[in-house]
Amino acid sequence: MLKNLLRKELCLAMHPTGALMLALSAMVLIPNYPYTVIFFYSTLSLFFTCLQGRENNDVSYTLTLPVARRDAVRGRFALAALIELAQLALTGAFCLVRRSLPLPANAAGLEANLSLLGAGFLLFGVFNLVFFPRYYRNIEKVGAPFALASVVFFVLVAAGEALEHAVPFVRDRLDSLDPAYLPARLAALAAGLVLWLLLTALAYRRSVKFFSRLDIA
């Protein structure tokens, strides 16, 4: 069932930017750039997918299929998880590429390292929690949930930047490529992954709850 739902999302529902935005993972090769912003582009593609879904009556189509309502939500979350994980994997791959290039340390934000990936997990988890439950309250109103999720996203990005300057642990250990602090960065990655799982699971539960009450015009 999940395979069919995901196939439907990929073949019919996904906005083309869902694939294109993944290529922006290569932005970690820009010498100085706030790399956490890269993750915003994939949230944008998820917004476009939901917006396009509204115009294409995606939910009406899905509800004519032999699936339960929660499965319609499950398919969309599967797509979101796939895009988010693919973006993180590609960003990780480009971080490795960057290491082999003669580039200076990033002066505009987090270094291209495991902490960045941990931050990506956290940002995606928070995006999922803010955007999807509000979207599934009323699938006709896609813009307002995304506007709120974007504000929260960039507040978190700004807070992360502030922490890099204000907290020595973040500045010296997490925002670094020093092998001595690899365990700290691994811990940041693991914490981000756990938070992403928890926040996304919570977002899914809340989305199913709201969507199950919704009348589809």
Binding site: R7, L12, D58, S60, L63, I216
Partner: protein
Amino acid sequence: MNVLDVRGLRKVYPAFTLDGVSFSLEPGKITGFIGRNGAGKTTTLRCLTGFVRPDAGEIAFFGLPPAGREAEIRQKIGFVSGGVDFYPRKKLRAITSVTRAFYSGWDEAAYADCLRRFSLDENKTPAQLSAGMRVKYALALALSHRAELLLLDEPTSGLDPVSRDDLLDVFLDLSAGGKTILFSTHITADLDRCADNILYLRNGRLLADAPLRAWVDGYRAVALPDAPLEPAAEAALIGKKRSKTGFSALVPAEKARLFASAAPASLDDVMIHLEKEGEGC
């Protein structure tokens, strides 16, 4: 066992209430769902298919309530609401490819037969199809997974007379094969041709649930000059309305003897005069 049992279905909107709708569908029967625009036909069908959450009432498909069994039940149901209005720029081939994967009982031969019968080109997109062809494609999807119950909202709207006739043949074939069909329509001639039973909805209330012929035969149409009637005859009139030569109305069949002009009523006559009568309520 009934294919569908609906009891006390209720949905309240600010300007409309679907009020206590109850009916059953027997296997192998074609039931026409009639009523004027806004009577609640689409709301009823959308409650049945899970698009709209009813405020009260019980629904059972094949003896099973849908809660927790939506996917299982939908394997046995085909639902068409007008023409295909989803993914207008995807090729039919792509939409079908995704759709068929969800159905354990997908019948490729039936689908190919629908494509041929309806002259559908899978390389086109819904946006490239006329309104009638979009209805045909929606029907092709609904008819291709061996659904035991077809819920069709205005399936013949937008179809040319030949296609409509062809589609009604399909319905009769399906019914003969044991499939159950509930379809709403404004084209009462379609029901005259194929429906066994009739559900008549007015202002959110189900006013008739009966065999079509018995229901229509319960009335006679009368044409009257613009002149006073005997009180007993006047009292028997239902939905009296102006016509070119005077007035027309329905009368109960048992009172037809009071009128020299009484003639068999058509489904159109019955519906129009009952609606007229309802306006006075």
